[in-house]
């Protein structure tokens, strides 16, 4: 299997190559760039489907590619796919055409930046060499920075600078930790490090610091509760496609980092920090929900709801139970779809009216009935209505964490209730009641282009609600290996065995 057909490299670099090719196209020929970007993103979807079919759910890495990069330091270009990264690659691939379709009226540079961003994200998900991962992890910040800073709202520069300084401040400490691990283990190979690091005495002693260095960088990205302040700014100022990708994929990068690096590298430290992680997750859930209730800007409301949803993801991952962690991973996908869809929907009315305050709208259900229907389905998915995708994820998370962390679960359940409150309140204010501004009536309902991306994403929301096993079956074995590292019972049993 190794080095046979470079499927993952093709998936990863196709968008960047297309971006390079489309960059010199003149501004007048924007049709070429739009269709080019769309076709390429569809090609990535098809290739990811091939990868999806090739992953059978065993925890071993598939589609491995391994080449020397910098021989002197044993840095490799090594990529591979397991259940967790497969789910993330698929999510990225699916959201991308929708983001491109939603940016149909943007300039060429915007679409080129989106393509480069896709390469950065896919690369970070498939990288199995720490150096390679770090390169992708940092490199993807730049296109996002430009997307927010050039094409964003009125306070875009502030938001873009805050975004990049926050994330880089977190990741440089991770760089120091990566170098420390290399100096002790002598390799950048992620699989090798996962095997070697937990057994090194010296690394175990410094484990708390190393876990914190990795964890801080990922916690900023998630974002976990006290490190979330960049998110509302970035979301509010970002253009629609930027918000979709930011919420849909970039935030998952943090949770993915915990699953792939922080927990497997330093399991002992991860167990020690579990209470803190759970406390922060639950605080994030409650705080995010309360903040959402107080927002008058729809985008800001969704941004804070992301803080709450990602709290569920982190609660699931750190719950130490397979069902909780599986729920967390499923919730990563769900949140990508639901929140992505919400941002797409808000983008539609923003494009039509250039407003996005809750009070700016009223009675929209009369004016835009089809739009209102889509919004309803997505709202219900976000709340966690049974039959839609959000329910399965949230249920698994709460179910899994209840066994070990009852109080935390009780507070987290409060978040579910609050989630229903703010989302339904939003829906009531925007869609029911009298039409506040008569000129809204002329806005018209969703058109063909909007339908083209709303239909598939809504279909996926329903599909995953009915058949969550599509994702869960692929991720189960990979997730369970991480969960075992966190579960104190499994560990005590293993420790006592030899005696």
């Amino acid at each position: 299997m190794e080095n046979s057909f470079p499927l993952l490299s093709l998936i990863t670099f196709l968008p960047a190559v297309a971006g390079l090719a489309l960059a010199p196209v003149r501004a007048e020929r924007s049709g070429l760039v739009r269709w080019g970007a769309l076709v390429v993103s569809f090609a990535v979807v098809v290739l990811s489907a091939v990868a999806w079919a090739g992953c059978d759910g065993t925890p071993a890495m598939k589609f491995l590619e391994d080449h020397d990069w910098v021989r002197k330091f044993d840095i490799h270009y090594k990529v591979g796919l397991d259940g967790i990264s497969l789910a993330m690659v698929a999510l990225t691939a699916i959201l991308m055409p929708m983001a491109i379709a939603a940016s149909w009226k943007q300039s060429n540079g915007f679409l080129v930046a989106l393509l480069f961003l896709e390469t950065g994200m896919l690369g970070a998900f498939v990288a199995l060499d720490l150096f390679l991962f770090y390169v992708f992890w940092e490199a993807m910040l730049l296109p996002m920075y430009l997307l927010i800073g050039i094409w964003g709202g009125p306070r875009r520069i502030y938001a873009a600078v805050k975004f990049i300084v926050y994330t880089i401040a977190g990741s440089v400490l991770m760089l120091a930790a990566i170098l420390y691990c290399y100096s002790k283990a002598g390799t950048f190979d992620v699989l090798e490090l996962q095997r070697v690091l937990p057994q090194l005495e010296i690394v175990r002693n410094a484990g708390s610091w190393l876990f914190l260095a990795f964890g801080l960088s990922f916690a900023i990205k998630v974002p976990m509760f006290p490190f979330h302040t960049w998110l509302p700014d970035a979301h509010v100022e970002a253009p629609t496609a930027g918000s979709v990708i930011l919420a849909g994929v970039l935030l998952k990068m943090g949770a993915y980092g915990f699953l792939r690096f922080a927990i497997p590298f330093f399991p002992q430290a991860a167990r020690e920090f579990t209470p803190l992680a759970i406390a922060l997750s639950v605080t994030g859930i409650v705080y995010g929900s309360l903040m959402s209730m107080a927002q008058s800007d729809i985008k800001k409301l969704i941004a804070y709801s992301s803080v709450a949803h990602l709290g569920f993801v982190m609660l699931g991952i750190f719950s130490g139970s397979l069902s909780g962690a599986q729920g967390g991973v499923l919730q990563m996908v769900n949140h990508g779809l639901s929140t992505g869809a919400l941002f797409l929907l808000v983008g539609i009315i923003y494009e039509k009216t250039h407003r996005r305050g809750v009070d700016d709208f009223g009675g929209m259900a009369k004016v835009m009935p089809v739009y209102a229907t889509f919004f309803m389905i997505v709202t219900l998915s976000s709340i966690g209505l049974p039959g839609l995708n959000g329910f399965v994820g949230e249920f698994l998370v709460l179910f899994g964490s209840f066994q070990e962390h009852r109080v935390a679960t009780a507070f987290a359940s409060l978040g579910v209730v609050l989630g229903a409150v703010y989302m339904l309140k939003l829906y009531r204010d925007v869609f029911f009641g009298p039409v506040t501004m008569p000129e809204r009536e002329k806005a018209g309902d969703v058109g063909g282009r909007e339908l083209a991306y709303l239909l598939p994403i809504t279909a996926l929301i329903v599909l995953l609600g009915i058949l969550p096993n599509l994702v869960l079956a692929k991720t189960e074995e990979s997730v369970s290996r991480v969960v075992d590292l966190l579960n104190p019972k499994v560990h005590q049993a293993a420790n006592h065995e030899p005696k």
Partner: protein
């Protein structure tokens, strides 16, 4: 004393430049006014090409070092590798200055002669293994640069720069000479290897004092905190092409000499020395980056950025104090690689300051960059490459250079240096990307006449491409950096 063939071969790269400098200086006399500049430019390029050939051939052949003049100079792999960077910087600088000279009426022969003399001093400085040669080559380069920074005789800022540079430089020279006197007095030798033997067998406080003063002199030249006061004013006042030249090449040559002196004399192993260097490195990284934060002039920002980068190179050298042989190789090679990468990204950034200028004025203020990406998207992209490279964001050369410096420091267990290093480079992201903010995110002013020079554009593009190449495929030049220091240590 007779000259042998080996003597000549050992200084061939510098000799080619010196001959070129003499011919170029004569051009003003022998040619009429309108042919002078092209004639002396041609002479300079010819000299650089010849010199480049004498460097590249031995680099490819991987033969041993050539020493000459009773081992006063050596043409080893360190000298060859850094000379490569120095020659590239010299060549690119001359391309940069071409239009500049015509507009300002600077005598071309004088200018090219001075540049080539300065470059020859730099090359000899990296080659020197003996204190007098070391001193003389340092003075050749310094004197050329004093004059060059005052090149615009009618511009008060240029004059101020020249005077400041001269006074600060003279001060540093005093330290240097005094230190050398102490070293000679305590060891009875001027040669690095003999000094090393004496110091190792019987360390004396006098020798340590001598080393300290030599180090202070060099710290002045490379602009390490607290000897950095002159940097911002001189860099701002000097003609931009000269600033570009001195910011990269003095650093490469000065640090090259420092590495040789440091490793050859065994001072790198000294605990006292390591501590002093670590202190200098910490102060330089912190102060350089913090001062750069508040600059509105891009030239001043780049000046403080060059101070900050001095700090990263010093951090690599400070890691030598407790190092095992393997780590020692790694840290010294990291310093050399850093200098090499720094040369191209900084030269490119200064070249862009000229390129983005309009109406005969360089783009010094941040406001000059507003909306540049709308008018010249590719140029803005090139500048963005330099900025992300300088701030250490992958995939540009600056990232890999910082990466290996920190990697060596971690291996040497210098965790304090690493933490301060990574945090200060996170701070630097703010001021480097502010240039990108202005270029991409601010509205352009009313359109004005712009005639970007194609020559300068070529320098910018070449530097940007090389910066990216060095970041993506660092393997070959990393091997060269290792080879460069292999002859210096532990033999």
């Amino acid at each position: 004393m007779s000259l042998s063939e080996q003597d000549l071969r050992s200084i061939l790269p510098a000799l080619a430049l010196i001959v070129g400098a003499l011919v170029a200086a004569g051009v003003d006399v022998f040619f009429n006014r309108d042919k002078r500049s092209s004639a002396s430019e041609f002479v300079s390029y010819a000299a650089i090409v010849v010199s480049l050939i004498t460097v590249v051939l031995p680099l490819l052949k991987t033969e041993g070092a050539i020493t000459g003049f009773q081992e006063a100079v050596t043409l080893d792999s360190l000298a060859l590798f850094l000379t490569l960077a120095l020659l590239a910087a010299t060549g690119l600088m001359i391309i940069l200055s071409a239009d500049y000279l015509k507009d300002r009426g600077v005598p071309p022969g004088e200018f090219h002669g001075l540049v080539l003399f300065g470059a020859s001093g730099m090359i000899l400085l990296v080659q020197a293994q003996e204190l007098v040669t070391f001193f003389i080559s340092l003075e050749i380069l310094s004197l050329s640069l004093y004059v060059l920074s005052g090149l615009f005789r009618k511009d008060p800022r240029s004059n101020e720069a020249a005077v400041k540079y001269f006074v600060a430089g003279a001060f540093a020279t005093g330290f240097l000479l005094y230190g050398m006197a102490f070293l000679y007095g305590s060891t009875h030798s001027l040669r690095f290897d003999e000094i090393s033997q004496v110091v190792r067998s019987a360390p004396s406080p006098l020798a340590t004092l001598g080393f300290s003063m030599v180090a202070v002199g060099l710290a002045f030249k490379v602009g390490a905190v607290p000897f950095h006061m002159w940097v911002a004013d001189v860099y701002e006042g000097a003609p931009t092409s000269v600033t570009a030249f001195m910011s990269v090449s003095v650093k490469a040559a000065g640090f090259g000499a420092f590495v040789r002196l440091f490793l050859r004399t065994g001072m790198s192993q000294s605990e006292v020395w390591g501590t002093v260097l670590a202190g200098l490195a910490l102060a330089t990284m912190i102060v350089g980056n913090l001062m750069a934060l508040s600059q509105r002039s891009v030239k001043r920002m780049l000046a403080y950025s060059s101070v900050a980068h001095t700090g990263y190179v010093l951090a690599a050298l400070a890691s030598l104090r407790k190092a095992t042989p393997m780590v020692r190789d790694e840290a010294s090679a990291a310093a050399v690689f850093y200098l090499f990468a720094y040369t191209f990204m900084t030269l490119g950034a200064f070249a862009f300051v000229i390129w983005a200028g309009k109406g005969g004025k360089d783009a010094e203020d941040l406001d000059d960059y507003a909306g540049l990406a709308k008018r010249r998207p590719w140029a803005a992209l090139a500048m963005t490459v330099f900025m992300i490279s300088l701030s250490g964001i992958p995939p540009a050369a600056g990232f890999f250079a910082k990466f290996i410096v920190f990697k060596a420091a971690v291996a040497a267990q210098e965790y304090g240096l690493v933490i301060v290093g990574v945090l200060s480079s996170a701070v630097s992201v703010y001021y480097y990307l502010r240039v990108a903010v202005y270029m991409y995110m601010h509205e352009p002013p009313a359109p004005t006449e712009e005639t970007p020079s194609p020559n300068v554009g070529m320098v910018v593009i070449v530097s940007a491409l090389f910066t990216l190449y060095l970041g993506l495929m660092p393997g070959r030049f990393l091997e060269q950096s290792y080879r460069a220091i292999s002859g210096l240590v532990g033999r």
